[in-house]
């Protein structure tokens, strides 16, 4: 998991590396629960959404908290951030809005004209 977090800090290059190892490294595939996963070898993906969805589907609240704690601890280890003074707040998020798809956009565009 540390490797995933460290790679994510490297931006696009990191994403590429993560996704390549998701597809090719059996140890990483095993750790992320992708044992029975098969990809279409005729297509080359930069980021494979189906793989990421399957990976995220295995994450629960406890694991997500742990991932964020690992990231925070790594940042504190580096001396980049400090938890000395903190600020707390809540914010509302919209739930269950309509998904904007290409079909919706096209439908709305046709309706306008």
């Amino acid at each position: 998991m540390n490797w995933v977090l460290q790679s994510s800090l490297q931006g696009r290059k990191g994403d590429e590396d993560i996704c390549r190892r998701f597809r090719t490294d059996f140890a990483v595939m095993y750790a992320c629960g992708l044992r029975e996963y098969r990809i279409n070898p005729s297509q080359v993906y930069f980021v494979l959404p189906a793989t990421l969805c399957e990976f995220r589907g295995r994450i629960d609240e406890a694991l997500m908290d742990e991932l964020i704690a690992i990231q925070a601890a790594a940042a504190m280890d580096e001396g980049l951030v400090s938890p000395a003074h903190l600020v707390i707040d809540t914010f509302p998020c919209e739930q269950g809005s309509q998904r904007v798809t290409d079909a919706t956009t096209l439908y709305k565009a046709q309706k306008k004209h």
Partner: protein
């Protein structure tokens, strides 16, 4: 300020008569659903092509859907306009963990959705922990779980001195004597949480600092310098709004994944990507003047300085 969902006030009227008529029609139309549900359950028991696991899953989903239907029927018969919303009110047939957000304006319909909480560093905006609770509890109930999460993260730190939380700031929503006492018991200053609408004094006098320490009974745990810093970095609405706005722009605005678990994953992934961007910004030394000042006061290193003086 943020807004979402239907317009809260000023636009259009709620046609109560029309709503009641339509509601009556829908209730009549749905009267047979209970019978259909029982028939579906009987068919499910007789289906031979299903495995036990599949049958169990479908039975559970059917039972849940029937329970929700009954609850929605019951609450549809009640007049909602002008009445106080009860806490267990289903606002989404597919996710009963969503509750109305009972906060803010008093003369407009209640908003509904999720209300995640974040705990962040005021200088750079790094988010140490987030919380997406079931339903919409009060703001003060977010404080201790979030502090616990930050303490779990600090326990994982392997290098350098032991990290501790010196102070916590928040808005009037978390101004609760029990929360304050719990923070003081953990050695955390609560000077950043206002007691009135009056702003916090950023430059307290020596006597005021002493009073703050005495009130919190933290004379031996916290130094006057730490109190000074806590007052200076106290609650600032624009700072918090900037953190939230960046988070919303990264996809935290609309919860697209299903259920509470989906919301937790989506918010968590958004926070992680946001934190990644903050760390990149720190490495590139892209700070505001305020952030530069606080980082200097907190003794946080910059990557450039460490390269020059390794």
């Amino acid at each position: 300020m943020r807004s979402f969902g239907r317009s809260c006030r000023g636009q259009g009227k709620v046609f109560v008569k029309l709503v009641r008529q339509t509601e009556q029609q829908l209730l009549e139309l749905g009267e047979d659903i209970a019978t259909f549900g029982q028939q579906a359950q009987a068919c499910l028991e007789q289906a031979t092509m299903l495995s036990d696991a599949q049958r169990e899953r479908l039975r559970e989903q059917l039972t849940t859907a029937m329970c929700h239907h009954e609850h929605i029927r019951k609450q549809s018969k009640q007049l909602t306009q002008g009445k106080k919303l009860r806490h267990f009110k289903v606002v989404n047939a597919y996710d009963p963990t969503i509750a109305p957000i009972i906060k803010g304006k008093s003369n407009c319909p209640a908003q509904f959705g999720r209300k995640p909480g974040i705990i962040s560093e005021p200088a750079t905006g790094y988010i140490f922990a987030n919380l997406t609770p079931k339903g919409n509890p009060s703001d003060e109930s977010y404080v201790l779980p979030l502090i616990d999460k930050v303490e779990q993260a600090t326990q994982r730190v392997q290098q350098g001195p032991k990290r501790a939380i010196h102070s916590l700031a928040g808005d009037l929503g978390i101004n609760d004597p029990i929360v304050r006492q719990a923070l003081h018991d953990r050695g955390i200053l609560s000077v950043g949480i206002p007691k009135t609408v009056a702003p916090i004094n950023p430059h307290p006098s020596a006597q005021e600092i002493l009073d703050i320490l005495n009130e919190a009974d933290l004379n031996r745990k916290r130094t006057p310098y730490q109190v000074q810093l806590a007052c200076a970095s106290g609650y600032s609405r624009p700072v918090v709004e900037s953190h939230i706005a960046t988070l919303l722009s990264r996809g935290a605005g609309t919860v697209r994944y299903k259920g509470l678990e989906g919301a937790v994953v989506q918010q968590g992934m958004t926070v992680m990507s946001y934190n990644g961007a903050v760390l990149v910004r720190i490495r590139q030394r892209k700070f505001t003047k305020r952030a530069q000042k606080f980082r200097r006061l907190l003794g946080l290193k910059s990557s450039k300085a460490s390269k020059i003086n390794p």
